[in-house]
Point group: D3
Chain length 249, copies 6
C-alpha cells in the first residue's frame, strides 16, 4: 500500500481544464494529484533563425516553477540570472516530445511556444507538463483550423507522459508523488503516443541500478497508466480529437 493508499498501478486523479487563460491560443490547467501546471500554447508567425527558409515550423517549450510551488521557497531563475540545468533538461524534453507527433511541414514557418508554469509541485511536474502541453497545443492548432490558416490538423497522434519507479523495497510503482520520488531508487519517465509507440524513455538510478526484469515491469506499468491518461486528454479536447491523425508523417 502506498503512502496515499493507491495501488502500485494506480494513477493519481487527473483533471484538465481547457481555456484557462484568455490570451493564449491554447490554454490548459492540468492537475495530477497535487501537481498543478498551467500549460499555454502560443502561435508565432515566424521560426527561429536556424529554421528559416525551409518552409516548415518549429515547436519549443519553456518550463518554470513559481517560487513556492515547492515545500521550501526556491529562488526565482530570473533573479539568479540563469536557468538551471534541470530546467533546461525539462524544456528540451517537452519540446522534443511534442515535435515527435507533429508534421512540422504542415504548419509552415510558424513557431509553437509552449509555456509550462508549475503552480504547485508534488512530483511528476515534467510528465504532467507534457500531458497538458499536448492538449494546449492541439487547441491552438484548432484555432488555426477554424480560421483556415491550416487545412489539416498537423498532429499525427496523441501524446502523453507518466513516471514509473522502484521503491527501496523493490516495489515497482506507477505515477510517483513527491514523497515517493524522493525515496525511489529508480525513476523513469516515459513518453508515449496514442498508438503505443515510445517517444522517450528516461530511466535513471540515482546512486542505484536496475535490472532487465525490473525494466520490463516498469514499461508495462507505464503502458497501462498511459491508456487512462489518453482517455482524459480525449475528453478534454472534445470534437477536435477526431482530427488527430488526419496527417501522417
Amino acid at each position: 500500500m502506498r503512502t496515499d493508499q493507491r495501488n502500485v498501478n494506480s494513477l493519481r486523479p487527473i483533471m484538465i481544464t481547457t481555456d484557462f487563460i484568455k490570451h493564449p491560443e491554447g490554454s490548459v490547467f492540468i492537475q495530477v494529484g497535487d501537481t498543478k501546471v498551467i500549460c499555454n500554447a502560443t502561435i508565432e508567425d515566424r521560426v527561429p533563425p536556424f529554421m528559416r527558409g525551409q518552409g516548415k515550423g518549429w515547436i519549443t517549450a519553456e518550463y518554470a516553477m513559481l517560487p513556492r510551488a515547492t515545500q521550501d521557497r526556491n529562488i526565482r531563475e530570473s533573479s539568479k540570472g540563469k536557468v538551471s540545468g534541470r530546467t533546461m533538461e525539462i524544456q528540451r524534453l517537452i519540446g522534443r516530445a511534442l515535435r515527435s507527433v507533429v508534421d512540422l511541414d504542415q504548419i509552415g514557418e510558424r513557431t509553437v511556444w509552449i509555456d509550462c508554469d508549475v503552480i504547485q509541485a508534488d512530483g511528476g511536474t515534467r510528465t504532467a507538463s507534457i500531458t497538458g502541453a499536448f492538449v494546449a497545443m492541439v487547441l491552438a492548432f484548432g484555432k488555426l483550423l477554424q480560421t483556415n490558416t491550416l487545412k489539416k490538423m498537423p498532429v499525427t497522434d496523441f501524446l502523453a507522459a507518466t513516471s514509473v519507479g522502484v521503491l527501496p523495497d523493490g516495489t515497482e510503482i506507477l505515477d510517483l508523488n513527491y514523497e515517493e520520488d524522493s525515496m525511489a531508487n529508480v525513476d523513469m519517465n516515459i513518453v508515449m503516443t496514442g498508438s503505443g509507440e515510445f517517444v522517450e524513455i528516461q530511466g535513471t538510478g540515482e546512486e542505484a541500478t536496475f535490472s532487465m526484469a525490473q525494466l520490463q515491469t516498469l514499461l508495462a506499468l507505464a503502458n497501462e497508466g498511459l491508456s487512462e491518461i489518453f482517455a482524459v486528454q480525449k475528453n478534454a479536447i472534445g470534437a477536435l480529437s477526431e482530427r488527430i491523425g488526419e496527417t501522417v508523417k
Copy 2:
C-alpha cells in the same frame, strides 16, 4: 461611459481566494476584473546580510508575469538572464508599501518573502499585487500567531492600492483596465492605509502633464475606491482582521 460600461468612479469586481496553494504560509489568488495574480507569502527564519544582528525583520517582494499573461507573449526574464527595470520598480514598490504597515521589530530576525505572479494581465497588476500581497502576508503572520511564534499581530493597519488616471478627453477615472491604461495621459498609483493615510503616490504623465486641480480629483477617486477594497480584504481575512492594529509603530 467607459469601454466596459463602468462609471468613472467604479472599481472592477474584486475577488480574493485565500489558501490558494498548499505550501506557502500565506497564499492568495486575487482577481481584479480580468487581472489575476497569485500572491504567496513565505516566512524565512533569517534576514538578509545588511539587516543581521539588529533583532528586527525584513519584507521583500518579487513580481513576475507568465509569458502569456499578456496579449502578445513576452520573453521570460529567466531566459533573458535579467530582470527588467519595470519589474524591479514594481518589486521595490510592493516591498516598501508592505513594510510601511508592519512593525519590523515585532517579527524578529525573519524575512517575509512576497511572490506576486501575474497569471493574466488586464491593467493594474501592481496595485492588485499589493492588495493581494497584504492579505497573504496577514495570513502568514496568522500562522505565526497560531504557533505562538509571534505574540502580537505585527501589522499596524490595512493596506491596499488602486490606480487612477486621466483619459485623453480629460475625464478622471478610477481603476484603469489595460485598454484605458494604454491610452491615458496620466497614470497614478495610490497606496493607502485603512485609516486613510498615504503610503505611496506615483503619478506620471507619459508625454503629458496634469494640473493641481486634476491631482485633487484623482486623489478623491482613489480614496473612494480604496474604501471598497478594504472591505473586500477584511472579508477575505476574516477573524484575523480584528488583530490588525494591535501593534502600533
Copy 3:
C-alpha cells in the same frame, strides 16, 4: 533650523556650468549644494527598434554614480555585471520626464541619449539630474537648430525637479540633503513644467505614512522651490530660452 542652517523652504545653492565637456552635443555640470552631476546629451541619428518607421524620435537616459561619489565606496555596476533596481528606476524617471516636454514628432527618427553621471552625492541626485539634463538637452537641440537640421525647437516648456520631505518631528522641508534624506519619514520627488503643471509625483513613506494635509504642504513647498530653479535654468540656457515653447504638443 536645518543642519545646514537653511530655512524649511530654502533651496541649496544651484550652479549650472554649460559646455562642460567638449565632445557631447549638450554638456552641463550641475551643482546643487554638494551634489554634483555631469549631464551630457547625445543626438543619435536613429531610434530604437520598437520606434522605427514612425517618423518620430525618442529620448532615453542613463544614470550612474562614480564609486566614491558617496561616503563609502559603492561597487561599480559594470563590475557587478548588472544595473541595480534603484538605477533603473532613476533612468526611467529621467527619460519619461524629459519626453513630457518634447514634441517627439518634431525631432524625426533621432534618439537623444541623456547621460547623468554623479561625481559627488549629497542627496537629491535624481532631481539634480533632471534639472541638469533638461539644460543639456536644450543645448543639444540648439546645435540642431544652428545647422538647420531642425526648424523649430521641439521643447514645449521648461522642466525641473526637486525633492520635498517630512522630518521625524513632522516638519515639511524643501530640497533634502543626504543627512535629511536619511532620516526623513517621507520623501517626495516632484517634476514640474515651467507653466506649473505636474509631470511626475513620487511620494513614498519608507516605513511611514503621510496625510492629505501634509501632501498639500509638500506640493506647495515644491512649487515655490521650482520657480527659483527655472530661473537658474533660464540663465544657463541664455538666448535659446526664447525658443522654448515655439512648438506646442
Copy 4:
C-alpha cells in the same frame, strides 16, 4: 553495411591512454573511433555547501568541447557567458552515472571533479566521456589508496556507456558515429555496470517513435557492446581493477 563498413553490432576501435596529463590525480585520453576526449579527475578535500556535515563525498562533472572539435566552429561557452542546455544535460548525466557505482560514504567529505573535454567529435561524445571518466576516477582513487587516505576502493562496480540507434530504414545499430547519429530516427544512450545492471537509459525519437520490439533489440545490442568496453577499461586500469567491488553499497 554501415558507412564505415562496420557490422550493425560492431563498436568502433577504442583506445584508452592513462596518465595523459601530469597534474590531475587521474588523467585519461579516450578515443572511440574519431571521437577523442580528455577525461581528468580531481580530488578536492571538501564538498559543496548542500553536502557539508554529512561525512560523505560528492562526484560532479563538467563537459566541454573545443570550438573546432566539430566540423563547423562552435562558439566557446565562456564567450557566450553561459552553458548550453545540451552541455548541462551531459554534465548531469556523467555525474549521476559515476555516483551510481561509488560508495560516497567511503570517500569522506571530498569532491571528485570530473572534467571531460572533447578534442575531436565524431558522435558519442557523452558515452565516451562516461567510459573514460570512469577510468580517470578509478585512477584518482588509486592515488588515495596509495597514500592510505582511503582504506578501500570506494568503487563498487565497473561502469561504461555506449549508444544504440535506429536508422531511417529501420536497422538497429550499435555505437553511432556522427553521420549515423545525424540521420538516425532514434538515439539511445545506455549506461551499465560491469554486472549488467542498468544505470541510465535515455532513448529519444527526434520527430520519430519506436516500438517495444525495437527497444528490446537496442537493449541487446548495447549489452553486447558494453561487454567489450569493460574489457578495454580493465586493461587500462591494470592491477587496480582487482580492487573494484571490494566495497558494496
Copy 5:
C-alpha cells in the same frame, strides 16, 4: 611639426588638482591636454580573500570612461553587463604599476582602491590615470599618516607614465594625442619610477613592427618626458613628497 604644433619631444600641458571630490581619502583631477581623468583613492580596512592572514595590503584599480568622454558615445559597460578586454587590461596595468612602488607589508591588511574615471578622452587615458592615481594614493596614505594609522609613508618612489610612438612617416614622438594615436604604427606605454627604473614597458605594433634602433629612441623620449611629469606630481603632492622613499622595499 605635430598637428597641435608640439615638438616631437614635447608633452601636452599637465594639470593636477588635488582634493577634487570630498568623500575619498585621496582625490585628484588630472588633465593632460584634453584628456581629463578623476582619480580617487579609497582605503578599505580589509584585503581580498586570497590575501587574508598574511598581514600585508593590496592595491587594486578600476577604470571607466563616461559614455561621452569620446567623440562617439560608447555604450556603458554596466549596460552591457560586462567589462571589456581593454578595460580589464588597463585596470590590471594601473594596479600592478602602483604596487611596484609600495611596500605592501607596511600598510597592513588594507586595500587601496583606485578609481580612474575618464571624463574626457584625447589619447593617453591609461598613462594619465597612472600619473594621477599615484598622487591620489599618496594623498590617501597621507591621511593615514596624519592619524598615525601608519607610521611611515609606504611609498618607496615616485611613479608616472607616458606614451611614445612612431608615426607612419617614421617620426618618433612623445605623449600622443588621440589623432596621433589613431594613425601611429607603434604605440608604447612606459611606466617608470622617480629614480629612472622601468616598471612596465608595453610596446605594440598594430599591423606593424619596429626595430631595435626605434625602440632605443622611444625609450629616450619617454625618459625625458617623465622627468617633467615627476616635477608636476611633486608640486601637486607638496610637503608630503618628502616622505616618499622613507620606506625601502
Copy 6:
C-alpha cells in the same frame, strides 16, 4: 644553474605536431617543455560587423585552459559566465601579434579564428600559443592557396614569441618555466618577426622594477632564443615556408 639544469640562454625542447585534429583548416599541437597547447585555425567567410564592406580580412584569437592544465583545478570560465582579465589580455595579444605579419587586404572579407587551448601549463602558455598559432594560421592559408581561393600567401614574415625574465638574484634568463615565472621579479614577453623586428614587448615588474641595462640583456636573450624557434617553425611548416614573404605589406 636553473632548476631544470638549463643554461640561462637555453630554451626548453620545442615540438610542433601539425594536422593534430581533423576538422580545422590548420591544426597544431605545440609542446614547449611541459607546456602543451592545441592551436587551431578556422577560416570563416565573413568578417565582424565593424569590418564589413572594406574588402579586407580580420584575425581574432581565443585562449583557454583546461581546468586541470594547472597544479590546482581552476574554475571553467564558462561556469563562471565570464572571461577573466588575464584571458582577455592574452587573446588580444595573440590576435594583434598575428595581424602584424598578415596583409589583411590579401585575404578578402574572411575571418581567421585562432583557438589556443592549453592542455597542460608549465609557464609561457601565451608565448607558446603565439608560436603555435602562427603555424596553424600558415597551414590554414595553405589550404586556401591549394584551392586557389587565395593567389598569394598573405603572410609577410615569420612570427614567434618567447619570454625572458630576471630572477630574484638578478640573473637574466630565457624561456621561464612555471617555477621560474612564479619567483621572477621581472617577466617580459617578446614577439618578433623572422627578420628581427619587434612586434610586441610586454615587460612588467610585479612589485619590482628593472634598469635600462637589464632591459638590454633581456632583449638580447630573447633575440637569440627566437632564432631557434623560427627554425622549428620552418621545419614544421615545410615547403609552404617558401611562400612566406611573397606578399609585402
